[in-house]
Amino acid sequence: MKVTLKIWRQPDAASKGAMHTYELDGVSEDMSFLEMLDVLNEELNGKGEDPVAFDSDCREGICGMCGLMINGQAHGPEVTTTCQLHMRSFKDGDEIVIEPWRADAFPVIKDLVVDRGAFDRIIQAGGYISVNTGSAPEAHSVPVPRDDALRAFNVATCIGCGACVAACPNGSASLFMGAKITHLGELPQGQPERDTRVVDMVAQHDHEGFGGCTNIGECTAACPKEIPLDVISRLNWDLHQAMRHGH
């Protein structure tokens, strides 16, 4: 099939970008979305035009490296990552608008590649359990109810892709942050640092320039791992508790 691609091109962070239009023929519906872009890049390279820069690594939906705004939706029309989206979700003759994640906390590096270092810094602020290597007690010394473990796991599947931020009208990273707070907060091991964790992570989140959450809910719909809005409620709850405890 044949598609028309409108792609954001921006040579580097300092330059101004613009949308460019490309026609691509011979697209097979078995191609993944990124393989379709690979084919475009081969063509561009052949013509001596700079290929389109975009991020990807695992290409199986787990590393969180990929992420494009496709026709106004983060990761495109299916609930999955960009790398797991296939061209059979599109029709012959479709026009496809491709943009990078837009958030000032995720500055564009080039074309469709953005810098998500802010996520690392939010984790650095407290997204962990402090236990030095070798100082851990025997694993079975602390039983964890199966349901708690399952809930923790379900939200720990966040891949840090940033689609939640990209989709949120406020540019908030609350879903990402809430996922981590809920993951660690569900487990007995996470309790000692529960108050400081939420306070410090939220402070870092705000400092990075993400917007505040007004519970709009676009984030969860864009999330390829279907992280539920519970986690934002949990985040708020923990934050109030921490404040009550004098943080």
Binding site: P11, D12, S28, E29, D30, M31, S32, L34, E35, M36, D38, V39, E42, N45, G48, E49, D50, P51, A53, S56, D57, C58, R59, E60, I62, C63, G64, M65, Q84, H86, I109, K110, G117, F119, D120, I123, Q124, G127, Y128, I129, V131, N132, T133, G134, A136, P137, A139, H140, P143, V144, P145, R146, A149, A152, F153, A156, T157, G160, H183, Q189
Partner: protein, 680 residues
């Protein structure tokens, strides 16, 4: 899949007589001195690690701040090491090419992680895990290392649980286990199908905590392109900042490579797009031996290739083979029919036919090879790519009839969904199609018992080293090795080396530094200035085809020799005719790939030479010349019970590979007896 009955077959007379295996690789390599000392302590096997830990010298806490440690890689091996060394107070610099340490390829591991906890009271023990791993590796691994791996495996689970890794649990709140890869004990800990992700996030968080504490400095989107060796010691790396394009020099007292596996030499593999050999290969070129490079693991249950646009292959958990039946049509004429219209008697359940006792559950290498054979005969199914159908059916209709659709859904739902998303077919209705794909490499940089390479001060951990899996890796053991190396082994052995430090500072204008940096700059300039016509990816794809065809599931003398010629020709063309657009300043993804592919060429050649030299079939390495009468792998312990450690002997004029030097490390088993595998 190792705990299969043993038959002591070593004396089975078949095609090749013992001691008569020729020297296939003669002319392609130079024989070198054998490796005598691996630094493994002697004495009873269960005391060796304790002995080594005790003997390794300590570093005064106040000195640690002054010791700079570079760690390349943030997967399980690198991330765990960065966290642990940071906690100990060393000054750590951590590098990865992705935009966050959390994205290292360990994240993709699905099945689980082994540990000898014996929580099920089913007879597991450190010794049994050790035994299974050595046997699974087809007696081509170093026993001291493997024993240590089994020994520290239990600490890994404690550590991960304390970090908040949400392993699956039973209703009583205790950890659940499953049996994996056919072993008879349940020792695999898992977090649904995302174990690697959860373990990596644990290590990542521990590392980020040290970043906040100021002991670890993280360099993301940085690619290591050269190691700096001063007076025979590794003292730093040259890295390219992938965002600014700047070529940076980073100096240190010790360098650790935890840069993962090189399966991407095959172009199509289950590895991440960026997985590369560059870090390891650059070290190899500076003197680090490369061990057993031809040992590759091919996983039988991957989603087949659909066309020439394909960029990577997706693994489907091995567990599917528990309920799915594998078949192809008996007749070529049926290959393009709808599988549901092919009657039972026209189907060939070839694994059940050839291996009646293990059927669909034979080990990975056997299942993979059998699939290749039927497709080579022209009985493959699915779309034709380059004129061949490469796929076999994995049929659940019997299982659905037996367990009901709900039963199957409960067991495999996410895998069926994934399959449907990728192929657009509904596996509840038509049989799945699968084909083998490159998945893991057992080969890697040679290291001694301390995980130190043949370059002093250069340590190698995780999939990047060769050490623990011999010729074949058991399921759920790579994660175990990565974390064992990172959390529990390296931090002890590296201190013995660092006890002599801090070493004299190296100046940025030291000739060795200048030389390394210039080499990188020249290479970058070469790629950008070659006004060629072919894209990097097209070369990579062609190299991958050669490797897959001749150095894949089955290797033969003729094929390997042909492959070496083809690789050399293609490599020459690559250096003269590659087309890389853009500039050196700033993000340039074609440039990144060009460097990786350049190193894959040399690696590919060495892999073929190694495979050519090893005229025996062992683990993942099947030589057509070395099989029993009924086509099974035949090992030659009398001649090949060694680690092949290759030394780079580049030709300074052409810049080519020259004839690499082969150093043999004899494998001696004191705690275990060598046996031949059989699955009939």
């Amino acid at each position: 899949m190792t705990d299969m009955p043993d038959t002591t077959l070593t004396s089975d007379p078949s095609h090749d007589e013992p001691g008569d295996h020729g020297d296939d690789a003669a002319g392609y390599y130079t024989p070198g001195e054998p490796i005598k000392d691996t630094k493994a302590p002697t004495g009873p096997i269960d005391e060796r690690w304790q002995t080594r830990k005790f003997e390794a010298r300590l570093v005064n806490p106040s000195n640690r701040r002054k010791l700079d440690v570079i760690i390349v890689g943030t997967g399980l091996a690198g991330g765990a090491a960065a966290a642990t060394l940071g906690e100990a107070g060393y000054n750590v610099k951590s590098f990865c090419y992705q935009d966050s340490p959390r994205r290292a390829h360990s994240i993709a591991a699905q099945g689980g992680i082994n540990a000898a906890k014996n929580y099920k009271e089913d007879g597991d023990s450190v010794h049994r895990l050790f035994y299974d791993t050595v046997k699974g590796g087809d007696y081509r691994s170093r026993e001291s290392n493997v024993y240590r791996l089994a020994e520290v495996s239990t600490n890994i689970i404690d550590q991960c649980v304390a970090q908040g890794v949400p392993f699956a649990r039973e209703y009583g709140g205790l950890l659940d286990n499953r049996s994996f890869g056919g072993v008879q004990v349940s020792r695999t800990f898992y977090a649904r199908g995302q174990t690697g992700q959860q373990l990596l996030i644990g290590a990542y968080q521990a590392m980020e905590r040290q970043v906040a504490a100021g002991t670890v400095e993280q360099f993301t989107r940085h690619e290591m392109l050269e190691v700096i060796v001063v007076d025979g010691k590794a003292r730093g790396i040259i890295a390219r900042d992938l965002v600014t394009g700047e070529i940076e020099t980073h100096l240190a007292d010790v360098v650790v490579l935890a840069s993962g596996g090189y399966g991407n030499v095959f172009f199509l593999s289950t590895n991440a797009m960026g997985s590369n050999v560059t870090a390891a290969w650059r070290a190899h070129r500076k003197g680090a031996y490369m061990a057993n490079p031809c040992y590759t693991q091919i996983h039988p249950t991957c989603i087949p290739v659909t066309g020439t646009h394909q960029s990577k292959l997706t693994l489907m958990s091995e567990s599917l083979r528990n309920d799915g039946r594998i078949w192809v049509p008996k007749s070529k004429a049926d290959c393009d029919k709808d599988p549901r219209d092919i009657p039972e008697e026209a189907r060939d359940y070839y694994l059940e036919r050839i291996y009646p006792s293990f059927g669909n559950l034979v080990p990975r290498d056997i299942a993979s090879r059998a699939a290749k054979n039927v497709c080579d005969e022209g009985r493959g199914v699915g779309p034709e790519v380059d004129g061949v159908r490469r796929g076999v059916y994995l049929d659940f209709s019997a299982a659905i009839a037996r367990l009901g659709k709900d039963g199957i859904e409960e067991k495999y739902d996410n895998l069926f969904d994934m399959y449907a998303r990728i192929t657009g077919e509904n596996p509840y209705e038509t049989p799945m199609r699968i084909y083998p794909a490159v998945h893991y490499v057992m080969g890697g940089l040679w290291v001694d018992y301390d995980l130190q390479s043949s370059i002093e001060g250069l340590f190698v951990t995780g999939e990047a080293n060769f050490s623990d899996h011999g010729a074949n890796r058991l399921g759920a053991s790579a994660l175990m090795q990565g974390l064992a190396d990172g959390y529990f082994v390296l931090p002890h052995t590296i201190r013995d080396y660092l006890a002599d430090g801090p070493f004299e500072k190296v100046a940025e204008d030291h000739p060795a530094v200048v030389e390394a940096k210039k080499a990188v700059e020249d290479r970058v300039a070469h790629f950008l200035n070659t006004s060629g016509t072919r894209s990097v990816d097209s070369y990579h794809r062609e190299l991958g085809n050669i490797m897959w065809e001749y150095c894949g599931m089955e290797r033969s003398e003729d094929g390997l020799k042909k492959a070496i010629d083809l690789i050399r020709t293609l490599k020459d063309d690559f250096w003269r005719n590659v087309k890389v657009l853009g500039t050196a300043e700033g993000l340039n993804q074609s440039l990144e790939r060009a460097g990786r592919v350049a190193d894959f060429f040399e690696l590919g050649e060495l892999m073929c030479i190694d495979a050519l030299n090893r005229r025996e079939s062992c683990g993942g390495h099947f030589r057509a010349e070395s099989q029993t009468e009924d086509g099974e792998a035949l090992r030659h312990d009398d001649q090949f019970a060694y680690v092949a450690a290759w030394e780079f002997a580049g030709d300074p004029d052409s810049g080519g590979m020259g004839t690499p030097v082969l150093h043999k490390e004899e494998l001696v088993y004191t705690a275990i007896e060598m046996k031949q595998r059989s699955y009939k």
